[in-house]
Amino acid sequence: MSLNDLNIIEARKGLEKKKFSVAELVKDCLKRIQQTDDEINAFLTVCEKEAIEDASKKDALLKDKVNWKQLPLLGIPLAIKDLFLTEGIRTTAGSRVLANYIPQYDSTVVSRLKEAGAIIIGKTNLDAWAHGSSGENSDFGLTRNPWNLNLTPGGSSSGSGASLAADMCLGATGTDTGGSIRLPASFCNQVGLKPTYGRVSRYGVIAMASSFDCPGCLAKTVADQAVLLQVVAGYDQNDATSMKEPVPNYSSFLGSDLKGLKAGIPREYFTKGVCAEVKTAVLKAIEKLSKLGVEATPVSLPHTEYAIACYYILVSSEISSNLARYDGIRYGSGRNSFGDEAKRRIMLGTYSLSTGYYDAYYLKAQKVRTLIKKDFEKVFEKVDILIAPTSPTFPFKLGEKVDDPLTMYLSDVLLCPANIAGMPSLSLTCGFSQDNLPIGMQIIGRQFNEGVLLQVGDAYEKMTDWHLRKPKLD
């Protein structure tokens, strides 16, 4: 096993015990990238020189006693989704518009990770502007799923999911506006957390839909996820939608008793379009959790069927506003460089917000948003968490045109309600298909209850070994 196969907690122990150096750890990650990324295309920019230089600085710090509380990610190589601004390192948003854009400042998430001692190994590929669920909308070529190179790794954080699955890094950042952390996590056998809206700062994250965007991380284990969330979560005065809610010690939730915890099983998330193998895997996981004292009960989120229309009207409206800044004056190559998907979403949004249509589309969708949010508030009066599949199907073929409308509808409907309501949701693997593809389940919680999600996820992970499986890379 090479050092890049380790998770964050293992790597930390190894560095502390001086079993290996940061330089060796970084070298192994870079080697994996060199060996496999030509095919997978997870990275848009690899920061080889900077990472090696940074590694020797970290190794110098490790010669003395390290305060791991202050530097919880010291020497850990992370991949950053190319939607997060990184000072001096090209940031493209996956679009030709920003092909040569060099940010003048770091996003808050990146500064916090750097302050915690992390090393940036590179910037990962994504659907351009985060518009997509498969990675196929990138202007720099699609990303392949390490579990099967003909399949999608999920999107829009496609490169982050794929790079982590291929052990090119020990953790990765992503953004979840309509499932874009959870879907790649599910398709790539990773742990992906969509934090509560406002839990993690959006400052320096290229905006898609400002009232939906949730920056967060992908990790190899739930315990790693807790470490990463601890670093990035918390109030930021540069983000006016950032919440002052205190940040608990997330790792302290792991290992606590689950007895009496009530889990709702929302019936709308288990309907016809959800593949049988996926349903079985999630229900088996719920059964396993019942053995630990979790009480499962059927619930209903009656407005779920309207989530897609509500989501796409509001999100495309916010997109049309956020992408207005790309006029080629201060940065970027101008609006003719937008791809088709971006143009479509901009125009849908412009239409929904225009005179004569605003009431019927945008305002209507905002009211439906209230109803969907109220669905969640109501069920959380009776239960503490919801458990559901992350995706109704397995990772689909790259280039496939899905002819089943029902499956298409459902592939987004399981993910976007959490974004509509601003709730946190954790996706982790609950089984593998007959073709050895990971099946993800999501645990949705009350706002700012990420600790409980991690607690449940960790307990499940300890009873299973799905997370230990690795894809076969040639």
Partner: protein
Amino acid sequence: MKRILILAIIWAMNKPSSPADLSRDQVERIAHLANLSLTKEEIKKFQKQLSAVLNYFKVLQKMDTSGVQATSQVTGLENVIREDNVSSGLSVEQALSNSPQKYNHFFQIKGIFEDES
């Protein structure tokens, strides 16, 4: 989203064209509002695709939302302000560093009062 549009197109192509379909003029107007210049082929393509998606959105019209407040912020924040303290920002060089056209310490842009050329 691409997949949703493909299915919406297939769905729309199987039904008679409704009066709500976008006209070419409407697409051109939307593109103009959004400051996008589209080719003739793009206008045709987007006309079909946008119409299909907008027709799908109509499912919300069925819903009774009388008396329901609109939600624009999911965590209840209102009027977030900060102290009026001066702090440092980007230097002029930093601010101009990605601009394709600069003049002295300014961004250079197309004239507003000149003839469009």
